[in-house]
């Protein structure tokens, strides 16, 4: 059992970060290239890209804005450098500042466009990286940790090895006063009654059922056959037959802890404990939403093998089976397949995951961090995008 001494950076917002990145955030797709080049090869500086062009009347505008602002205000970010188009393009930067997070702003229009912005931006980012490097870690209460729970490329073993083991680790965090976020609403269809039964209040129970049924209704209204998306072809090859079966396995990531609340996409849990966040099952949208909602770290279980991570948060990858762990060794971190091999039990694997969380919080790198993954996605509930 590891020592439970965690360290992190305490931000002005009062939130704690376990990484200390400078994040370059483009406000608009037109700024993606410049943002990426500002961060390129610069130690301590990360960038993300997205395809949003703020074009006026957009039903998802609020959802997208709070995702961009929330991601940039995550306490793993020491300071955000928001790259806008003109000086009027400050809405996201202002939302970040309102949380108490540190933010600087640059407009491409002040530098003639991309190349000038890159030149100026690299100078600015370099100074910000120096500023960040001067900040020191302090002892961090575990109750300030928010853990994202994710599964992707699931197979039938996800619900048998990796997810229940993660559930044990998650329960331990919650017992110690921390927070875990269970998401992927489409992958709770068929398991929502089990989560509602553990809700801390009738109101929370109602919200659990409501959020899952709302997603289900949205799917029915589309009038589509969800098979092929849920379960996906890889899930089906791996033995998962229906969405319920997938969900019952997916819900195990949340362990047995009481469910303290339900939040919307990219909205921070209001209290501690196990929360459900309403996100799609799309791996990157989910990760983006959880990190925008305050998760500083995530554990991501996988059966078929997923190589993704996150630009500003460490993602610990746990294989459901030994075959994929060996096959994709450099994209993964832990092997829950060891349970079936007889080398671990569920409790010992749960403890191993928890110990790894502590190690990574305190600075140990994950495989996705070594690789420099920077997947990012905005999330839409409505299409097509209005002009």
């Amino acid at each position: 059992m590891s020592s439970l001494e965690l360290t992190g950076w305490r931000r002005k917002s009062g939130w704690w970060g376990i990484r200390n990145h400078v994040l370059v955030l483009p406000t608009n797709a037109a700024a993606d290239l410049a943002a990426g080049r500002i961060a390129e090869g610069m130690a301590g500086v990360r960038a993300v890209a997205h395809q949003w062009e703020d074009a006026g009347d957009d039903r998802d505008r609020e959802r997208i804005l709070r995702t961009l602002a929330g991601f940039s205000s995550n306490p793993n970010v020491a300071v955000a450098l928001v790259l806008g188009i003109t000086q009027d393009d400050r809405e996201i930067a202002e939302r970040i500042a309102a949380t108490g997070a540190a933010v600087e702003f640059m407009a491409m229009a002040d530098h003639r466009g991309t190349n000038g912005s890159v030149e100026a931006g690299r100078r600015v980012a370099s100074g910000l990286a120096d500023r960040a490097a001067a900040l020191e870690r302090e002892p961090m209460p575990i109750s300030d940790l928010i853990l994202g729970l994710e599964c992707g490329g699931s197979d039938a073993l996800s619900g048998i090895t990796a997810n229940p083991a993660l559930g044990i680790a998650s329960d331990r965090l919650v017992e110690l006063g921390g927070t875990s976020v269970l998401a992927e609403t489409s992958e709770l269809i068929g398991a929502e009654h089990l989560l509602a039964a553990r809700a801390v209040s009738p109101e929370v129970a109602r919200r659990v059922i409501e959020v899952v049924h709302a997603f289900e209704l949205a799917i029915l209204e589309l009038g589509v056959d969800i098979r092929g998306a849920q379960p996906a072809p890889g899930n089906i090859e791996g033995g998962l037959t229906t969405i319920e079966e997938k969900s019952l396995g997916a819900a195990k990531k949340g362990g047995d802890a009481p469910v303290s609340g339900v939040t919307d996409f990219a909205i921070r849990p209001a209290t501690k404990g196990l929360y459900i966040m309403d996100t799609p099952g799309h791996d990157i949208e989910q990760m983006t939403g959880m990190v925008a909602g305050g998760c500083q770290i995530a554990v991501f279980t996988t059966g078929r093998g997923t190589p993704t991570g996150c630009a500003i948060a460490p993602v610990i990858k746990v294989a459901t089976n030994t075959a994929i762990f060996n096959r994709m060794r450099l994209d993964l971190d832990l092997n829950a397949g060891a349970i079936l091999d007889g080398d671990e039990t569920l409790p010992s694997m749960g403890a191993r995951i928890f110990d790894e969380i502590v190690r990574v919080v305190n600075g140990g790198l994950t495989s996705s961090e070594r690789r420099g993954n920077h997947e990012f996605a905005i999330s839409r509930t409505s299409y097509p995008v209005p002009a």
Binding site: D155, A156, L157, G159, I160, I189, G190, A191, L194, E216, I219, L220, V224, D225, I226, R227, Q230, I236, G238, G239, L240, T241, T242, I243, E244, E245, L248, G249, G303, L340, D341, G342
Partner: protein, 99 residues
């Protein structure tokens, strides 16, 4: 001599279940003993896939993890491969699947 724990070849996840999960690929004809039930496999079962532990009538619930995971679209006999060809979601059925 202490034997290393053997890797299970199949798992029954809950006593209420009417399907079990193959952990390793299993061959048609193999005789399986689970929870004092005897099942003869009627098909090859790929790793991770399910086989029926007893007759599941068309339209009946398929139970795994002690919960309903779907409905049988046709009778599934004991030992048969139970998957997309004979199970459909009870929640989000799509257009009828033809084999």
């Amino acid at each position: 001599m202490n034997e290393a724990p053997k890797r299970p070849r199949f798992l029954l996840l809950n006593p209420k279940d009417n399907v079990a999960v193959a952990v390793s690929p299993l061959k048609s004809g193999e005789q399986i003993e689970i929870d004092s039930q005897h099942v003869t496999l009627a098909n090859d079962i790929p790793a991770g896939h399910k086989f029926a532990l007893r007759e599941i009538g068309a339209g009946s619930d398929v139970i795994k993890y002690g919960e309903v995971i779907g409905k049988a679209t046709s009778s599934i006999h004991s030992g048969e491969h139970a998957h997309v060809q004979n199970i459909v979601s009870a929640r989000l059925p799509g257009p009828a699947r033809t084999l």
